[in-house]
């Protein structure tokens, strides 16, 4: 039973070591006798760890996997952060647009009829402002004392 267990421990070693020294290790176990079996088991278990972790390329593969994972995590995190930032920027800009009544909803499709209506309203408002200004000037020119007429104001009045 003990021998089978010890053989199993040897079998678990990397093939390179097992093929080279497996038979010799079992031979030592047979020669050492039962009294030394517990110490030999402990030694075989340590040897198993040593051969897999230090002597085989497993530690290189493991460290490579860890470094790759860390790099991937770092890249993923920075990318996610960038995406978050752009989304946040987009949402802030979107909020500002939404709050501004002159700009309206940026995401709404362009409505040509509404644009013409709004443009006509804007022209009407501008025309109203101009008309009001012209009436004001006309009233001022009538109320003012008779003196040399202001060419600019008369030209302006004629244009209006």
């Amino acid at each position: 039973m003990r021998r089978s267990l010890y053989r199993a421990l040897i079998e678990l070693h990397p093939a390179r070591f097992r093929d080279r020294f497996g038979d010799e290790m079992l031979c030592v176990f047979d020669e050492a006798g039962r009294d030394r079996a517990p110490r030999l088991f402990a030694d075989a278990a340590l040897s198993l760890l040593r051969q897999w972790l230090l002597r085989s390329n497993l530690w290189k593969m493991a460290s490579g996997a860890v470094i790759s994972s860390l790099l991937l995590c770092a890249w993923g995190n920075s990318t996610a952060h960038g995406v978050d930032l752009s989304l946040a920027r987009g949402s802030r800009w979107h909020d500002r647009l939404a709050m501004n009544p002159w700009l309206g909803d940026r995401e709404a499709p362009f409505d040509e009829a509404e644009f013409e209506r709004e443009a006509a309203q804007a022209v009407a408002i501008l025309a109203g402002i101009r008309k009001t200004e012209a009436q004001k000037r006309h009233a001022q020119s009538h109320n003012a004392p008779r003196s040399a007429p202001d060419p600019s104001s008369s030209a302006h009045a004629n244009k209006g």
Binding site: F17, R20, F21, D23, E24, M25, L26, C27, V28, F29, E31, A32, R39, L40, A42, D43, A44, L46, S47, L48, R50, Q51, R55
Partner: protein, 121 residues
């Protein structure tokens, strides 16, 4: 020659396991279990070398050319047994490490002698 000297220096100081294994092989060729018994005898049972540690070291030592595999002594022996022999390079490395240890021992004696004399007074 210069390269061999540098290579020799790069192997020093030897680890306790390597030192004991080379010492065990210095007198004669031995198989694995024989090396373990000789190491136990040299260290008066204080240093117990297991097969895992022994063969891990033997693999490194044969790779570096300090130890070679030796022919079997008789055909009646267990075929699983393999004998190992100290190479000429291995003997030079062992001599260099023993010289280093001698120097360390000399320094240690010089450093410890005033303490011993003060303790005795």
């Amino acid at each position: 020659m210069r390269l061999a000297k540098d290579e020799l220096k790069s192997l020093l100081p030897l680890s306790p396991a390597t030192l004991h294994i080379l010492l065990a092989l210095a007198a004669e060729d031995r198989h694995g279990y024989g090396i373990m018994l000789e190491v136990a005898r040299q260290s008066q049972g204080q240093y117990a070398l297991g097969p895992g540690t022994l063969y891990d070291n033997l693999e490194k030592l044969t790779y570096r050319g300090l130890v070679n595999e030796a022919p079997r002594r008789s055909a009646n022996e267990d075929p699983r047994r393999r004998y190992y022999r100290l190479s000429a390079f291995g003997r030079r490395v062992l001599s260099a490490d023993l010289e280093r240890l001698r120097a360390v021992l000399k320094e240690a004696k010089a450093a410890m002698s005033p303490i011993k004399s003060s303790e005795s007074t």
